[in-house]
């Protein structure tokens, strides 16, 4: 059996991406804080975000956070909680200034201020025209945010546990309330188990795009944190809403920033037609992502795709000129040259939607406290970033609102977790705290079954792309569910090769697959249950939005081996639902 170590902290943060490190910067100066991550912090996928972070600074043209709030609500097809969206847009301005003051090298205007550019769905005065709201650092804004937050964690001496894989959340009954008391983690370099007893636990574990084959997500984005929460019987909100980013590099899924279209790039079909003019006459190629992705797939399905197999559309940057590409979009220019041998200065790029972002996740209130039903918080438990659902993104997130989300709600999570830890008593650990994890690790490390982790994962990804992607139907989702159920049965009989204790990445991948399978089932069951089309969830058999029946959040609960669906009301303050036109 592995060696077990014990640690005590006021605040434990799981995940060292943007949300986790932003939380640490708030909590570490005031509490004994640890950040635990299965990666080195700078490997986190925040670093892959490209285009920008929204804030109504009005540095280059008139703007207001109220317009930003409206755009966020409309962009999310009215499933956004409007109180949360208002916080997001209002606190965006401080969030940007915080980052700049911490050292982030934003691009600048001629008068030395932070420069801003256009992005999809961000408009002037409630939809009149695109507005320059995205603050950016070339097309590596996420990279600069991740680096800047890491640099400031170094400055503050934040304690990191790198390459520690958290596999369980500890809950203890305190005064009749289920209360967070820590986490259990597996140290990759040694195979040892570490039990962290903590007063506050913050989950900032990112998304789960690896359940799809075509994705912009890293190999490591396997939904571990969301999966742990699910296995603990805590509900998951709005899991059917997954964003497919329009411009993945065709065949590879690598992200080509929406910032390209913000700078003026145009989507064309095989005839050279700017097809978005037909679908979103006012803002065209800067319509929100769900709308663009849907019409890209539609153009291809109707025979207007480009390429030898007519299976993608073209992202035309050729009119932007070499200078704009080299200075404002250097990374995507290089990706195209490296991976496809195509120079965007002279040739259009092949693009198709790529699984990008989970709008749903762990339900929280605006203070980043995790909810165990529609209203009850779990004391000491917080979540922020992509793993969480506040919900500021509703059924479709606007571009640049995720880098914003991790900063605004990461900060709130860190601040609130620290304040709580400073007043609450550290709960005792539950009996046998490490047992679940030691059993899981030992059974998987010695697993000799006939099934292959790689094979099951591939079949899951192919099925999700085929039947739970941009367009869904009762039939496709039913098929996906049957396939997932079969894969879950086969997963019980997997075998691995590596029996070692040290850096056992074979074991790691096997455990990650378990989380992906659990969450894929929640995504598909939630999607099947919502018989309407809204935002990122497009049902061919129910092609319109149905506010009468479905103007509410999905709440999925694990009941034994079954999934039961409940609902939660949407918070509406200033913006009554309207038809969504651009």
């Amino acid at each position: 059996m592995p060696t077990v170590h014990h640690h005590e902290y006021d605040v434990v943060i799981v995940g060292a991406g943007g949300a986790g490190m932003r939380a640490a910067i708030e909590s570490a100066p005031h509490t004994k804080t640890a950040v635990i991550s299965k990666l080195y912090p700078t490997r986190s996928h925040t670093g892959a975000a490209q285009g920008g972070m929204a804030a109504a600074l009005a540095n280059v043209e008139e703007d207001s956070w109220e317009w930003h709030t409206f755009d966020t609500v409309k962009g999310g097809d009215y499933l956004v909680d409007q109180d949360a969206a208002e916080i997001l847009a209002r606190e965006a301005i401080d969030a940007i200034i915080d980052l700049e003051n911490m050292g982030l090298p934003f691009n600048r205007t001629p008068d030395g201020k932070i420069d801003q550019r256009r992005f999809g769905g961000h408009t002037r005065d409630h939809g009149k025209a695109p507005v320059r709201r995205a603050c950016y650092a070339a097309d590596r804004t996420g990279h600069m945010i991740l680096q800047t937050l890491f640099q400031n964690c170094v400055k503050l001496g934040v304690e990191f546990y790198n390459e520690f894989y958290v596999l369980d959340l500890l809950l203890t009954e305190v005064n009749g309330k289920t209360t967070a008391s820590g986490v259990v983690s597996y140290e990759l370099s040694t195979g040892d188990i570490h039990v962290f007893n903590a007063t506050s636990v913050v989950f900032a574990t990112g998304g789960f795009g690896k359940m799809f084959k075509t994705t912009s997500n890293a190999h490591t984005l396997t939904g571990d944190g969301v999966g742990i929460i699910w296995r603990k019987g805590i509900p998951l909100e709005d899991m059917e809403f997954f964003q497919f980013h329009p411009t993945g590099l065709a065949g590879l899924g690598i992200l080509l920033t929406e910032g390209a279209r913000g700078e003026g790039a145009i989507l064309r079909n095989v005839n050279g037609e700017r097809f978005m003019e037909r679908y979103a006459p006012t803002i065209k190629d800067l319509a929100p992502r769900d709308i663009i992705s849907r019409h890209m797939v539609q153009e291809v399905a109707e025979g207007r795709g480009a390429g030898p197999n007519k299976d993608y559309v073209l992202l035309d940057c050729t009119h932007l000129g070499a200078e704009v590409l080299e200075t404002k979009l250097p990374d995507i220019t290089e990706f195209a040259r490296t991976y496809l041998g195509i120079d965007p200065v002279t040739e259009p790029l092949p693009g198709m939607p790529t699984a990008h972002y989970a709008m749903g996740g762990i339900p929280t209130n605006v203070d980043a406290q995790v909810l165990k039903d529609n209203t009850t918080v779990i004391p000491g438990l917080y979540a922020a970033g992509e793993c969480a659902c506040v919900s500021v993104h509703g059924s479709n997130r606007l571009g640049t609102n995720s880098l914003l989300d991790i900063n605004v709600f990461g900060k709130r999570a860190g601040r609130n977790a620290a304040a709580y830890a400073n007043k609450a008593k550290r709960p005792p650990l539950p009996a046998g705290a490490e047992k679940f994890v030691t059993d899981l690790i030992e059974s998987m490390r010695t697993a000799k079954g006939k099934e292959s982790v790689a094979e099951i994962r591939k079949e899951l990804q192919v099925e999700m792309d085929r039947n739970a992607q941009v367009f869904r139907t009762e039939e496709s989702l039913g098929h996906a569910l049957t396939v997932i159920e079969g894969l879950r049965k086969r997963y019980k009989n997997v075998g691995i090769h590596d029996r070692g204790q040290r850096f056992n990445t074979d074991l790691l991948e096997a455990i990650e697959l378990g989380f992906l399978l659990d969450l894929a089932e929640v995504v598909v069951v939630s999607a099947r249950n919502r018989k309407e089309s809204r935002g990122g969830h497009m049902r061919d058999d129910f092609p319109t939005r149905d506010d009468k029946k479905y103007m509410k959040h999905t709440m999925a609960y694990k009941k034994g081996q079954k999934i039961s669906i409940d609902w939660k009301p949407v918070v509406i303050t200033n913006y009554p639902p309207m038809e969504r036109k651009y």
């Binding site: 990666l39 080195y40 700078t42 490997r43 986190s44 996928h45 670093g47 892959a48 200034i97 700049e100 003051n101 911490m102 050292g103 090298p105 934003f106 600048r108 001629p110 008068d111 030395g112 201020k113 932070i114 650092a137 590596r140 990279h143 600069m144 680096q147 400031n152 170094v154 400055k155 370099s189 890293a218 190999h219 490591t220 065709a250 065949g251 390429g307 030898p308 197999n309 990374d331 290089e334 990706f335 490296t338 991976y339 496809l340 195509i342 040739e347 092949p350 292959s452 982790v453 790689a454 691995i496 090769h497 590596d498 070692g500 204790q501 040290r502 850096f503 056992n504 990445t505 074979d506």
Partner: protein, 243 residues
Amino acid sequence: MGELGAVQSFTVTFNVRRFNPETDEEPYWQDFDVQMYSTDRVLDGLHKIKWDQDGTLSFRRSCAHGICGSDAMRINGRNRLACKTLIKDLDITKPVYVEAIKGLPLEKDLIVDMEPFFAAYREVQPFLQTSAKPDKEHLQSIEQRARFDDTTKCILCAACTTSCPVFWTDGQYFGPAAIVSAHRFIFDSRDEEAQVRLDILNSKEGVWRCRTTFNCSEACPRGIEVTKAIAEVKQAAIRGVRK
């Protein structure tokens, strides 16, 4: 249009330097034959080995498109990111040699201990230091911002530092990546502590150990002119900083 739609696959032999600390006294080389496409990356080859042939093969990777910095390794004797090295750019009539980056303690197969690398990074105070307390953002001109643009691209993959012959023989040397991180702040108009970093890098294990072999610039997967950045830090150490 490049190789899109090309379907012809061929056999590539990977010769991987293996080491399992629980069973092996010394590292050894092992051959694997893998079916590959010309647009595949070396990382795809390693995955095919791990997923189809030998699950014990251990390496780090995450984003798979050259931005997270996890998978720096020595490929045919050169430091590269496995996810940015395409098969079509290698001579596959011969085996493709893959081994861990050099100069950091070997942990297992292609995984090294990154801690000494990050320790050097932390030592150069890689964070903005300023007494200014602006209400909004600090002002910075486009030219001032451009002055340190190149070194902001660093992803801390260690390809440069572990390609440096000085670092191989003297593990105390800060190494190119730490100097790049220092450069990023030394030449930032908002920062006020350039001299503190220059004093640190003026020490025995600092910039003067650099022998200008240009390995680091050649190794950088982000195209940073690392040797030039080091030369600028050397200049600043002698003549002061011009931002």
